[in-house]
Assembly symmetry: C2
């Protein structure tokens, strides 16, 4: 999250005007602002002039860097895929780590996916809510991101179903449930502690993750407490 | 959903201009358009002129009906509370129905909440994502909606935790997980069947709900199949 914030904040402190292609921060700032706009407003609703303003660059830079709106949208998807590649590689490694129990691997996978969503909260809106608004973009979202992400986890989910740890008729249904469960808005822990002040605000996010793991994985109670994200919800995580 | 669609569509076919307060459809159309704008753009980002245009009414009607933006936002929250009242009353009745087993009541509660989100997909963004952007609005969201909704379910969640059916350290953590899990974008079943074509598109939503129930409730396998929303995922729901 630090990287994206820096990239978004940087252009405001620089002089405006035409940038050449060898100034990657203008391009990057446009991608970040455009991802947010597409996620919030959809493809048709996003306005390129507002995107350029939010990115702190001159409006003509959209055309210079990307050509048109459709190409800008595809570049946003490409950026998300690039951001997701390390997480997918780790999920793949976790899924195939025969030295760990199935329960441990599923728990580690959930933590890795949760960390990705926490770092890039706009991704799910861009991909799932807005990416499905046209058949062409739904195809791109599916083929470039959803299918590869699903494929890294599918065999592990299937093994979890066969072992009774995952309760789903199909690994893709569990994939959908898991992604929805892990998409907590950044402000949610604060709202949570308002309705339940006894929940420590510092560890609310980690406690939510623990609850997600304990709920979604049907492990015997002895195994379920394994690697707690919140130190069993009683002490802050290190 | 039919009511809100009709209300949103109606003003377009009527002459524009000043409406008196006894024409409720202009007010209602403004509330629907404003809820969507606040959910997508946040309070500061929502533009009253665009809201009026989306509602098909004259821009001055915002001031006529609501006074200012803050009052419009509060009226949107009031409308959501009104929409949620029947669901909360049913959840309360389900929670206190001693004739049903704990597992049956929790299953019925999840189905009722899922039905509410399916009917009003903008609510969660308005309330949780955007409602937390200022302390004043976070207080209103918490006191008028989140706390009452949580209170209708809290005792049942607590009983579920004590019986081992719910795996959470605190009922509020389960409340948060459940709300996130049930917030599937309308287009998600379509994306799901693209990555797993063997899932029947007609019953994808019901199958997702079944998976949510089977995952979140730790019931013995014999009880877990109880009232399947998708007829065990093999036959379409009636």
């Amino acid at each position: 999250m630090t990287d994206t914030n820096n990239a978004a904040a940087a252009p405001a402190s620089r002089p405006r005007g035409r940038r050449s292609k060898d100034m990657p921060d203008g391009r990057q700032a446009l991608l970040i602002a455009a991802t947010e706009a597409f996620a919030n407003l959809g493809f048709d609703g996003a306005d390129l002039r507002s995107v350029a303003a939010a990115a702190g660059v001159a409006p003509n830079l959209v055309r210079v860097h990307f050509g048109n709106k459709a190409a800008l949208w595809e570049a946003c998807l490409d950026r998300i895929v690039t951001l997701a590649v390390p997480a997918m590689a780790e999920v793949h490694a976790i899924a195939h780590d025969a030295s760990r129990s199935l329960g441990d691997r599923l728990r580690a996978l959930i933590i890795r996916v949760a960390t990705f969503y926490a770092a890039y909260p706009e991704v799910r809106n861009f991909v799932v809510r807005r990416g499905a608004e046209s058949p062409e973009r739904a195809t791109l979202v599916t083929e470039r991101l959803l299918r590869p992400a699903y494929e890294t986890a599918r065999a592990l989910f299937q093994a979890g179903i066969e072992a009774g740890i995952i309760r789903s008729q199909h690994p893709a249904l569990f994939f959908a449930l898991l992604n929805a469960a892990l998409d907590q808005p950044p402000a949610f822990p604060m709202l949570l502690t308002r309705i339940a002040p006894e929940i420590d605000a510092e560890t609310a996010w980690a406690q939510l993750l623990d609850t997600t793991i304990a709920s979604l994985l049907h492990l015997p109670p002895a195994q379920a407490g394994g690697e707690s994200a919140a130190g069993d919800g009683r002490t802050p995580a290190p």
